[in-house]
């Protein structure tokens, strides 16, 4: 069951120390106001990131054991796993808001039965992540900061669109994980409709993986040769030696991307977490796909 392994790996990887620290959330002037959530529990790493990024971090009292970013989460109580929270631990925190995702179907049922207020965000697309920032800002009375962040991210997307306008979109395979570390026998690729497909389209690329029923299909070396993408992007979160990964690809010299030296390895730890940092990463990906475009200085 490679997908299960990959899922566990992706979720576990989400807990690695982060590369860049977000600015600490200031205490909201509205904290303590009736109707404003004061004790918030997050049930996903991406939700925790969004809560802190939108200025609600000072009210987070519970996070999952996979939530390691921002570093301030280290002092917050843990409420169990991402899909498998401990309802006892959540209830003991007496939260006035629990923030969940669509995949928390079972948790939603149990938490509703416990009489807790729930807020559901959708982190299955980039647009959903941006909207979730605004939703959290509105709900936690941190609107200006959340709106500023959402606008900044949308500004990045506009810059990418301007820089890549009229340019040929390269056909890209994004490898999100390897089922077999020894080679290319089972590369889990971002299929069409997945979050990373969305990321790729915003970054000015085209997904070389054809539409299909599987969101993250497993590609063999033979499948890769058949697809023959212009660019190969491999996510290897936490990998210390990305050059070694790139060298491995030279074992498939018939691939156009390998011949052209267009194998790009990203090692950022946050790549599996569909939070605000992934939105900002879109520009890095776009610059890597279109290195000769006219990019504004950062």
């Amino acid at each position: 069951m490679p997908l299960r392994t990959i899922a566990v790996a992706l979720i576990a990887i989400a807990g690695f120390p982060a590369r860049q620290a977000a600015p600490p959330a200031p205490a909201s002037a509205l904290a303590g106001m009736p109707g404003v959530p004061q004790r918030v529990v997050s049930l996903a790493p991406s939700v925790t990131e969004a809560l802190f990024a939108s200025g609600c971090g000072d009210r987070v009292v519970g996070v999952t054991s996979y939530c390691r970013y921002p570093p301030a989460t280290a002092r917050i109580a843990r409420v169990g796993g991402y899909i498998t929270p401990s309802y006892e631990a959540i209830a003991a925190l007496h939260p006035d808001l629990v923030v969940v995702l669509p995949e928390h179907e079972d948790a939603r049922r149990h938490l509703t039965r416990l009489g807790l207020n729930l807020l559901e965000l959708d982190h299955r697309s980039l647009r959903g992540v941006i909207e979730s920032l605004r939703t959290l800002g509105y709900r936690c009375h941190a609107g200006p900061r959340a709106e500023a962040l959402a606008a900044e991210i949308e500004g990045r997307f506009d810059r990418i669109a301007r820089a890549t306008a009229g340019r040929a979109r390269p056909r890209v395979v994004i490898g999100v994980a390897r089922g077999d570390e020894r080679g290319f026998g089972s590369l889990s690729a971002a299929g069409q409709g997945s979050m990373y497909d969305d990321l790729l389209i915003h970054a000015g690329g085209l997904n070389a993986v054809p539409p299909g029923p599987v969101l993250h299909p497993t590609l063999s070396a033979e499948s890769l040769l058949r697809l023959n993408p212009d660019v190969i992007v491999e996510f290897a979160p936490g990998t210390a030696d990305p050059e070694a990964r790139r060298r491995e690809w030279r074992r498939l010299p018939s691939l156009k991307a390998v011949r052209d030296g267009r194998v790009i390895v990203f090692t950022e730890d946050f790549l599996p977490v569909p939070g605000p940092r992934l939105l900002r990463f879109t520009e890095d990906l776009a610059r890597a796909l279109h290195p000769d475009a006219r990019w504004e200085a950062r």
Partner: protein
């Protein structure tokens, strides 16, 4: 077979031993109900989360152990488990298909995933029964082979469904397939009660017949047992219990395998004693495993199915190496 049954003095001690097992079960249940309640927990945590969980664990453990005992006797096979005939695989397939689909419904208080699992279990029992009937009669060998074949086929469909799902859904499926008792409120407990209650009544009423089936179907028939009818009642009782339990708790392995074997070692193979031991011991074992899984790395909860397998695997290997289960099933 009779030579394997301990004699009079030990027989007289068995009721007292069973009373001790009942006492131990109560102690385990009390420990699991109160141990490690998070500081600051109010009474709702106990009544809404902890107590329903312990009750569900006891019912599920009792039902699975009694089911395993019944199948081991009916098939005269030490390796038989409640899941041998594919009911659990079918329930699991129903659950993963529901998770994969976009349909979201609930049947009253029963969540959609449980309803789908129960439907799968019912269809599988009907399919295995139909296949066995097609082969004429109700032969134990045909039933076993049909069940195993159905189970393998359904397991491959589960893997395929999991593969065709996105990462988070596949993760949810994987988690469901490990089994779990994390419920809130007593509704899930009441949903399991009729399945387990009715199944246990049938099994407890058929202890003499199971003794005779264990010796041999021919001998049982000579002693007046309507073999086919008893096998059908056992088949449907176990399928009903396993379907109901799996629908709510997911597949929880090893309870139905090791508890009856432990019972055979401790109270002997006579079902008059083995059945109550399996019910009490199975319930206490599952509640204890869940307590361990909950407390080991709190607040992260290890799925109870993983804990039973962790404890059950070495235990079963020890049994195999001791050779005792084989001797108990010798005629």
């Amino acid at each position: 077979m009779n030579s394997a049954w301990p004699g009079g003095a030990r027989t007289r001690r068995r009721p007292r031993f069973l009373t001790g097992v009942a006492g131990a079960a109560i102690v385990v249940a009390a420990w699991a109900s109160c141990a490690g309640l998070a500081p600051g927990s109010h009474t709702d945590v106990f009544w809404q989360i902890r107590l329903p969980r312990v009750c569900l664990g006891f019912l599920a453990g009792a039902g699975l152990a009694a089911s395993g005992m019944a199948f081991q006797s009916m098939f005269r096979n030490a390796l038989a488990t409640p899941y041998t005939l594919g009911v659990s695989s079918a329930a699991s397939l129903g659950a993963v298909l529901y998770m994969r689909s976009a349909v979201r419904v609930a049947v009253g208080d029963v969540p959609g995933v449980s309803a789908a699992a129960l439907a799968g279990a019912g269809l599988s029992a009907a399919l295995v029964y139909g296949l066995t009937r097609l082969a004429r009669g109700f032969s134990t060998a045909t039933l076993l082979l049909a069940g195993v074949a159905v189970s393998f086929s359904l397991t491959s469909l589960i893997l395929l469904t999991e593969y065709l799902s996105d990462v988070t859904t596949a993760f949810r499926m994987g988690r469901w397939l490990m089994g779990g008792l994390d419920v809130v409120g007593f509704e899930p407990v009441w949903q399991v009660v009729p399945f387990v209650g009715l199944g246990l009544v049938f099994i407890c009423l058929l202890t003499r017949e199971m003794d005779l089936l264990l010796v041999g179907e021919d001998l049982a028939a000579v002693r007046g047992v309507s073999v086919d009818r008893i096998k059908k009642v056992l088949f449907f009782s176990v399928s009903m219990m396993v379907g109901g339990i799996t629908a709510v708790c997911g597949p929880i392995g090893f309870v139905g395998l090791i508890v009856p074997h432990a019972g055979r070692l401790l109270v002997g193979p006579r079902h008059r004693y083995l059945a109550p031991f399996s019910i009490l011991g199975g319930g206490a074992f599952l509640v204890a495993c869940d307590g361990v899984g909950r407390a080991a790395v709190a607040p992260i909860e290890i799925p109870v199915g993983a804990v039973t397998a962790l404890i059950g695997g070495p235990f079963f290997l020890a049994l195999l190496l001791s050779g005792r289960p084989g001797r108990r099933f010798e005629r």
